[in-house]
């Protein structure tokens, strides 16, 4: 049972480049999330999904896009990377809307 798997673990992007952060879960959870974590700031919700085909914005969605074509996968797309998107990104999934139960290992992204 792999849980929530994110790739890549590390990435350096140049300003203006684009990339997709991959996330997959094998627990058949309906709820999936993308968070970003900045030093000393806790976690901020970027986007979330309550099931395949359904996504919604979180607190900080600008500069990001998501899709949810299957229950298992929830990729995060960064368009036109900016230095402000330098952060650690966590994908997560849950069996419940009230709590984010399982997090991935994170992707450390640096935009230079």
């Amino acid at each position: 049972n792999a849980g929530v798997t994110q790739t890549p673990k590390f990435r350096i992007l140049k300003i203006g480049q684009s990339m997709t952060l991959q996330c997959t879960q094998d627990m058949n959870h309906n709820y999936m999330y993308w968070y970003r974590q900045d030093p000393g700031m806790g976690l901020k919700l970027i986007y979330y999904s309550v099931g395949a085909g359904i996504t919604d914005k979180g607190e900080v969605p600008n500069g990001y896009n998501v899709s949810r074509s299957t229950t298992e996968d929830f990729p995060l797309r960064l368009e036109l990377a900016a230095p402000s998107q330098t952060s650690v990104y966590f994908c997560a999934s849950s069996y419940s809307r009230w709590v984010t139960a399982f997090f991935g290992q994170g992707t450390r992204l640096t935009v230079v």
Partner: protein
């Protein structure tokens, strides 16, 4: 107000002591309160959670105390161990308003000295 205020920012405790981390909120629309533990380089892990109709919940050495009237909740780690050294985040689930979400505190870095 959609904030959860967490204190202290850092905490140093001796092995065997009690670690106490506090969180406060203002919005009564928060209605579920989980705590997370995060080790360096890892994702957060759900530790324990409490509903607002319960005043205390205990799991092993970890206890959440909840004071609904004061809008405060806290995590107590009894018999703290060096392996408990991590960053702890409180959170609160904001319901309704078309955008339900988990709001996190800024974290407390706990160091347990041997």
């Amino acid at each position: 107000q959609q904030q959860v205020k967490q204190s202290p920012q850092s905490l140093i405790v001796q092995k065997g002591g009690i670690s106490i981390i506090n969180c406060a909120y203002e919005n009564t629309a928060f209605d579920y309160f989980p705590w997370y533990q995060q080790f360096p380089g890892k994702g957060p892990a759900l530790l324990i959670a409490i509903r607002p109709d319960v005043s205390e919940k205990k799991e092993g050495r970890f206890t959440i105390s909840f004071n609904k009237s004061a809008k405060q909740f806290s995590l107590h780690i009894m018999d703290s161990q060096p392996g408990d050294s991590a960053t702890y985040f409180c959170a609160a689930f904001l319901r309704g308003g078309g955008s339900e979400k988990l709001v996190f505190g800024k974290g407390t870095k706990l160091t347990v000295n041997p």
